[in-house]
């Protein structure tokens, strides 16, 4: 199964995502802010990143941009976005995010999209 980085400053969401995905056998790493997300993404080389739209340090879009360095990031990214942040979603997809989920979301749906993205990359 895959090594997945969850970047979100809300520990409840991190737990939720972690449990959902660990149950499917994935290995989870956690970053609590944007800068940490970039650190871990570059040093640990996760196979997938789940990225919150709003975080301290650098927000989700800035992280995407810095990961991609102009082009689409080499790691697939799924954006998690809050209501009313639709422009983030559009921006995220433009910057090369593979998929997005809007909070509140269904945990099953998250698991499904994760396996879909991973399958597409395999």
């Amino acid at each position: 199964m895959a090594r997945i980085l969850v970047a979100d400053d809300d520990d409840l969401i991190v737990d939720l995502v972690r449990f959902t995905l660990e149950a499917k056998g994935h290995e989870i790493m956690v970053a609590n802010d944007g800068d940490e997300a970039i650190d871990i993404a570059t040093t640990e080389e996760p196979e997938l990143i789940i990225l919150d739209g709003m975080m301290p340090g650098s927000d989700g879009l800035q992280v995407l941009r810095r990961l991609g360095q102009g082009g689409a990031p080499s790691v697939p990214v799924i954006m998690l976005s809050a209501r009313k942040q639709q422009q983030d979603v559009v921006g995220g997809l433009e910057l090369g995010a593979e998929d997005y989920l809007v909070k509140p979301f269904m945990p099953e749906e998250l698991a499904m999209r994760v396996s879909k993205v991973l399958r597409a990359r395999a």
Binding site: D33, G34, M54, G91
Partner: protein
């Protein structure tokens, strides 16, 4: 002949001097007592406000409660010679938790590479934006946006000072609400959401909103946010921690409720854009533009018979790095005092006029009494009362009463603010922090308080001599960790 002279000296001159001394002594103690009664009232009002407020304590509830109702905001951040920190500061502003907002960074003619740093980090391109007001400000050299960050606007202009830069930012703001911030302050992620609440509840009348500013020294900072609240190790900074608590938790909370809040901190305040523009924007010729503009808003709204409210939100939203060296602190305080006096002098005709309602009857009178008069009277007391005592004009009871008023009451007010913080907010994470702050609250009354009064006196003298400008300013970069 000799006898006559002696008689004259003993019975006329000495008695007259004694009576005069008595009058002075009683004036001093009377003013000191009034001051303490005012503080007592403020403390009680603050307790009532804090106990009855309905606020979202948790950030998550705040978001879901307001996300659909919160109006767009433009955050205006003036920057001058901030090459080293500006990129990180903009990043942290862009990561605020708020549904719809734009950041307008105004480069106020920096001499260093502030603009270059922004260009390198965000790939600025010229933006097609027309000015939307006719406020006066130094010429704008260019307006830029970032293809990567569509809600960032950089206004590059010639140097004109902070007020001038804010006006330039206002000129390019588009939303109905604007938020003026100090770019080197650390904001809580949900600062905008918290402070915008009064506007959401009463959009027709709320014109300005302030929030609590706290001391960032000693806090652990990461990614432009406070990670963990802590106490500064430096004694001066620790004294200011208590001082800020008292000023915001006690004074501004209750002045806000009373309707006589005359200042919204320049470090963080939200305003109705149309009102700021109508009153003519920030004043470019005062050192206390954040105080002056609020006084002017009061004046304008009353002059035009409009119903309005200036509101204060007690939640801490903004953390500022306070000076840790005596010289820097002295310069800051002298400048604040000059700002207060300038604003007061300019608007003194509002005082005690029915037309200006509570802003005039209480707000301006309060500035005169608490900010200008009492610090001087207290200094006079320190010098004269011992002399009077030696001369036998006043007795022990008087000295003890005066000392109790000054010191015991002072301690009570400081500790009271601390109690208020702990009962209603409990933001300090550890019991030991509280214990240390209690000690600071006691000992600040011996030395620090007198020093502050002395700086106010100097500010007064500077004002009389008509000194202009901001004074030298030193800013410390935030230590990560």
């Amino acid at each position: 002949m000799h006898d006559w002279l002696q008689f004259f000296w003993e019975h006329i001159v000495a008695a007259a001097l004694g009576d005069l001394g008595e009058v002075v002594a009683f004036t001093v103690i009377g003013i000191s007592m009034t001051q303490n009664l005012v503080y007592l009232v403020l403390l009680v009002v603050a307790f009532v406000v804090m106990a009855t407020r309905q606020s979202f304590r948790q950030s998550r509830a705040l978001w879901s409660g307001l996300v659909d109702l919160a109006p767009p905001i433009t955050v205006i951040a003036p920057a001058f010679d901030e090459e080293a920190t500006v990129v990180e500061n903009v990043r942290s502003l862009m990561a605020l938790k708020y549904p719809r907002f734009t950041v307008v960074l105004v480069n106020d003619g920096s001499n260093d590479g502030t603009l270059g740093a922004l260009e390198a980090a965000f790939g600025l391109v010229p933006a097609d934006r027309a000015p939307r007001s006719e406020l006066e400000h130094a010429p704008v050299r260019g307006v830029y946006t970032s293809p990567a960050l569509p809600n960032l606007l950089v206004v590059d202009k010639e140097n004109g000072g902070k007020a001038d830069a804010l006006n330039a930012g206002l000129t390019y703001a588009e939303s109905d609400l604007v938020c003026a911030v100090d770019v080197d302050c650390l904001l809580e992620a949900d600062a905008l959401l918290r402070v915008v609440q009064p506007f959401v509840e009463d959009p027709d009348h709320v014109v300005a909103m302030g929030g609590t500013v706290r001391v960032a020294n000693g806090c652990a900072v990461k990614g432009g946010r406070i990670k963990r609240i802590g106490l500064p190790g430096n004694l001066l900074a620790r004294l200011q921690t208590v001082e800020y608590l008292r000023a915001f938790m006690m004074a501004r909370v209750s002045w806000g409720r009373i309707g006589a809040l005359m200042i919204v901190s320049g470090a963080f305040g939200i305003f109705r854009r149309d009102v700021l523009i109508e009153v003519g924007g920030y004043d470019r010729h005062t050192v206390g533009e954040d105080l002056e503009v609020v006084v002017r808003i009061h004046r304008f709204m009353r002059d035009h018979d409009r119903r309005y409210r200036v509101e204060f939100v007690p939640d801490p939203v903004c953390w500022t790095q306070v000076p840790e060296e005596l010289g820097a602190l002295a310069r800051q305080r002298v400048r604040w005092q000059r700002g207060a006096i300038e604003s007061f002098v300019r608007h003194k005709d509002m005082m005690l006029k029915r037309r200006y309602g509570r802003a005039g009857m209480i707000g301006l009178a309060q500035i005169l009494f608490l900010d200008i008069l009492t610090p001087l009277v207290e200094l006079v007391g320190y010098v004269l009362l011992p002399v009077f005592f030696v001369l036998g004009v006043i007795n022990w009871d008087f000295i003890i009463a005066y000392l109790a008023l000054t010191f015991a009451f002072g301690i009570f007010i400081s500790v009271g603010s601390l109690i208020l913080e702990e009962v209603e907010l409990s933001r300090f994470p550890r019991a030991t922090d509280l214990a240390r702050l209690t000690l600071v609250a006691i000992f600040e009354n011996f030395g620090y308080r007198q020093l502050n009064n002395y700086w106010r006196l100097i500010g007064h003298l500077h004002h009389l001599r008509g000194k202009k400008g901001w004074g030298r300013q030193q800013r410390r970069a935030f230590a990560a960790g």
